[in-house]
Structure formats: C-alpha cells, structure tokens
Symmetry: C2
Subunit: 212 residues, 2 copies
DNA sequence: GTCTATAAATAGATAGAC
DNA sequence: GTCTATCTATTTATAGAC
C-alpha cells in the first residue's frame, strides 16, 4: 500500500508533522482574521466571504477547517480566552491582589484598543449558544473567573476593594472593561493617546467618578 | 377643485386631523416595536419581517411609513433621545449637579432593564451613518450632551466630581451606563432585583471598585 | 395605505473537479 | 485541501391590485 510506505518512520513522520504544522498555521491565520473582524464589526455583521477574502483562500476551503460560522467565531473566542489565561500565568501572584486585578483590566483594554478584542455576542445570538456548548471556552472562562474571583475576595478581605460589592459584580465590572465603548468614544475624539485613555478608564473603574 | 371642497373647515379639518392621529398612532406603534426589537437583538439581527409581524401589518405597509430599515431604526433612536430630553426637563435643576448626574445614570439603567434601550450600533454599522445625518438625532444628542456637560463642570468645580477627569470622559462614562452589559450579566445570575442591580452599578460608577 | 406576491441581493453552506 | 460554481434560505425592498 502506498499509504503504508509513506508512513514509514524515516520519511513520513517528519512529512506528516510538516503538513500538520502547515495545517495549524493556516488555521491560525483563519482564526486571526476572524478575531480581527469580530473585533471590528461583531458576529452578525461579519460575513464568511470577508473572512475568506482576508485570509486569501476560497470560502469552501474555510468550511474544510470549520463546519460553520459559529464554529469559526467560537475558535476566535477560545483563542482570546487562552490569551487571557496566558496573561494570568505571566503575572506575579505575590503582588497585591488589587494590583493584579488592575493589570488584568489594563490588559483587556490594551487588547481592545489594538483591535483584537472580539465584541461579545448579544444575548440572543446564535454564537452565544455555540459558546455555551464549547468545552474549551467554558472551561477557560471558568478558570479565568476562578482566578479573578480569588483575587477579588482577597482584595476585599485586605480592605483594598469595596467589600460591600458582591464579588460577582466586581468580576462582571472587570469583564465589561474588555468591551467598554468608552474606549472607542475617547479614541474617536482624537484628543488622547491609548495610554491616556487606559489611565482614564482605569481611574473611573477603580476610583469612581466622584472626587476622593 | 375637489381638494378645495374637502378642505372646507366644516368637515375636512376634523377628518384630516383624525386621519393624522391614526397615522401618528400607527407610526408610534411601529417605532415602539422597533425600539423593543433593537433593545432585544440589535440592529443587524432585527429583521423588517419581525417588525411587521410584531406590529401586525404587512411589511410593504412599513415601507410606506419609513423608506428603509435604517430610517426605521433611526426613528427609534430619535424617540429614545426625546425621552431622554423629556427626563432632563423633569429634573429639578436646583439640586446638586452630582445628584442630577446620578439620576440620569439611574434612568438610563432603568430603561435598559425595562428592555427599552436600543443597543447602540457598532462603529461600522450602516445605522451609524444614518444617524450622523439625522438632524433630529444629532440635535437631540448635542442638547443632552450640553446639559450634562454643564452639570459635569459644575460638579467638578464644587468638588463633588473628580476634577482630574476630562469632562468628555465623564460624559462618555455616563452614556456607557445605558448599554452596560453588567446589567444583563447580573440579571442573568438571577440573584438580584432590578433595584439592587442599579444600586450596585451606580456604586461602581460613582464610587469605584476600591474601598473608600 | 394595506395587502399579496415577487423581485433583487446577499449570506451560509455544499458539490464536484483537480 | 483548494478551487469554481452552485444551491438554498433569508432579507431588504418593490410592484401592483384593491
């Protein structure tokens, strides 16, 4: 059999690995394009034709990699979640919990300003349903939530964070920074740099609008 | 001329007024349906067929009232803006500016929780373009922004509001409360009443996450 | 102005050759 | 796996009778 010959260790193993790498590289390019388009226009406005055009392949080829538009978008959401987990891994957990939470909020805003934060689907979106049944996404979200939750309760116990707020309210408030329209508004005003915008929103988020 | 006869004061004036009232009532029903659907699923996911079904008239009839889907949605946005202006009109301007701003934020959240706040269009939406050329909307937005802006600078001058924040950042932060996903998140958790949700988000907005 | 019926355009998804 | 070409369903918008 030809396939048996090709699978001989001396030549097929590297060759199959090479093909797998190409395959993964292609899929990564697809997911990157989807991620950018999701950030730019959202799930509903993004078309599969646009994705194919951006990647530079035929639309039918996309469907060899991902069975539907929802799976395409879910792959991008999973990758963002993995990026978040990698960012958390890189944090020095010996720092004060409040500082860690601030760094997380800063990171989500940097990603958003870089045009790489997919806008989360509205509650009735078909993407929402696809995500709730996506184990990689749900597991990643739970992992991130657990880690942030621990820092939140620690920061509340040490008096840095307002202990009157339910931890889940704090968690959601931080998540919301990833899709805060204020960043786009301020960017659109053309008066501030990305750094200034992030500092302002961090200030309103942690210190509030009122004078201290 | 027939038209001259029909315009005689004795019979045509009341009849035309009646028809106009019916016309306005119908259009109000249309705009209400559009408003609700925009709040529920956003501009892209809302279909004109749904609107027609919700109003209970044929789709072609809709297009006799509004020339396009964008105009349909713009009418709903204009009406929300008018509701906002009416709310501002009803406020007691002798109160402290900071309290007035808090009342405005509260109102936007109440409207959102009532399912009557159209989610604002993403930056690339065709609705965005339609809104920027809609005089009623742009004028309303400028009026609201001017009034809030005056209260913001007054609150900063009196020391109630953080004077280090540019007024435009404060304004955008307040606007963002109208589409804050945190409300939906907390609502979805099923643990809190609408009043509790609003109080929590008002607290994070004005007092910040950090302990005071 | 309201309706039914249909046009025209677009989007998600697939067939089948290579 | 990639391509071209096509299918099927949906969606915005209109035609034309009443």
């Amino acid at each position: 059999m030809v396939s048996a010959v090709l699978k001989s260790p001396s030549e097929s193993a590297p060759k199959r690995s090479f093909r797998q790498q190409m395959h993964l590289a292609r899929e990564d390019a697809i997911v990157s394009a989807v991620n950018r388009l999701l950030a730019e226009k959202g799930f509903e406005s993004m078309t599969v034709d646009e994705v194919a055009a951006e990647v530079g392949i035929a639309k039918a080829s996309l469907y060899k990699h991902f069975p539907s538009k929802e799976d395409l978008a879910a792959a991008a959401m999973v990758r963002v979640m993995q990026r978040a987990q990698a960012f958390l891994d890189g944090l020095d957990t010996k720092r004060a919990p409040l500082d860690l939470l601030r760094e997380v909020a800063r990171w989500t805003m940097e990603v958003q300003l870089a045009g790489e934060m997919p806008s989360l689907p509205s509650e009735n979106s078909s993407l929402r349903a696809a995500l709730t049944t996506n184990k990689a996404y749900v597991d990643g979200l739970m992992d991130v939530s657990d880690r942030l939750g621990a820092w939140i309760t620690a920061a509340q116990a040490s008096g840095g964070l307002n202990a009157a707020l339910p931890p889940i309210a704090v968690l959601y408030t931080l998540y919301a920074r990833a899709c805060d329209p204020v960043l786009g508004f301020l960017k659109g005003s053309g008066q501030y740099s990305n750094e200034q915008i992030i500092e302002m929103v961090l200030s309103t988020c942690f210190d509030g609008l009122k004078a201290r």
